[in-house]
Symmetry: C2
Subunit: 199 residues, 2 copies
């Protein structure tokens, strides 16, 4: 979550990137002499925009509904699942750790916005769903939330939005593929700290 962050900052002179690098690209990558300058700028911009919006939404939620963003997120998931969701399913959909969800649900149950009951047919699982109060509260928040997001993007044309949707989908596909490639690649462990390296 940083504004000018993660740009690599090596200050290395560009290998003449930007345009006309289409043909060179594959070779560059093959030789490991990658530049990644434009990708880093893209990531930075993406991150800044997301942070900006997220923090805007967070403060609206707090000021107008006295609710935190993660709680709103969780309720949003439940609102879409009439039958309720297991903790594991919530964890996957929210893209957060299982332990995180445990605590979040606990607090929402205390607030009376959410309820949990044993899942039928699997004694390990619990089903979580909105209480009537939770559903009503969420409805109001969702309406306001839509307005905020609409407002945040109000200077974009429908064409801009559609173009972004397409490009972001492409980026998402790229990132997923890359993440999958990395899955199960053993670490090289450089370590900065001074712990006894148990190699």
């Amino acid at each position: 979550m940083s504004d000018e962050t993660r740009n690599g900052g090596t200050g290395r002179p560009s290998a003449g990137a930007d345009t006309a690098s289409i043909l060179l690209d594959a070779e560059t990558r093959l030789h490991g002499g990658g530049d990644h300058r434009s990708e880093l700028r893209l990531w930075l911009r993406l991150l800044t925009l997301t942070n900006l919006i997220e923090s805007e939404i967070r403060s609206h939620l707090r000021a107008e509904f006295d609710v935190t963003l993660p709680r709103f997120d969780l309720m949003a998931q439940l609102e879409k699942a009439a039958e309720g969701l297991t903790l594991g399913e919530l964890s996957r959909r929210m893209m957060v750790s299982a332990g995180n969800v445990t605590g979040l649900v606990e607090r929402l149950v205390q607030d009376g916005l959410v309820e949990r009951r044993p899942a039928p047919g699997d004694r390990r699982s619990a089903l979580v769903s909105l209480t009537p109060a939770g559903r009503a509260g969420f409805e109001a928040m969702a309406h306001a939330h839509g307005d905020w997001v609409g407002d945040l993007f109000s200077d974009l044309t429908p064409v801009d939005i559609e173009a972004l949707m397409v490009l972001l989908a492409r980026a998402k596909a790229s990132a997923r593929t890359s993440a999958q490639r990395q899955e199960g690649v053993s670490a090289t462990s450089h370590k900065l700290s001074k712990e006894p390296s148990n190699v």
Copy 2:
């Protein structure tokens, strides 16, 4: 930080959005009957992508350098500021609260990666900068970080990247304008919880 989150989920029938809505748009917004469906989908996609990348970078940093993302972020800011930065400047650039930076710097000083000294000419301020160890450590991380990001976006063409840069800049401008508009708009306080409303 949610996958399918914050879509409003009201299930309201569309007012015929998507194409041909350019002319209707202004009026729709004026009358407050906004739909915001496409904006919400855009926000969701943006958020999912950012979460995906962020979590990938986080796990690389942990596995290969035993460092957290916020610490990397902070070091990245310092790397670009030869003279060092004040805590306040760090807070602004990282887009996090001041108190957050206090603790982060504390821990990095303990690790020997960062040092703080009184700012000349202002006894309230401290200047923070990388130690030689911090600089060396960051250099290695930044290099690897560039590779990861390059890899995450490796299926995008230079044209895709350029188009995204332009559109994201536009979105950022829109969001900033909107956030500014909201600045200092008194809250309507609906509140979900059951505290005594001190109105």
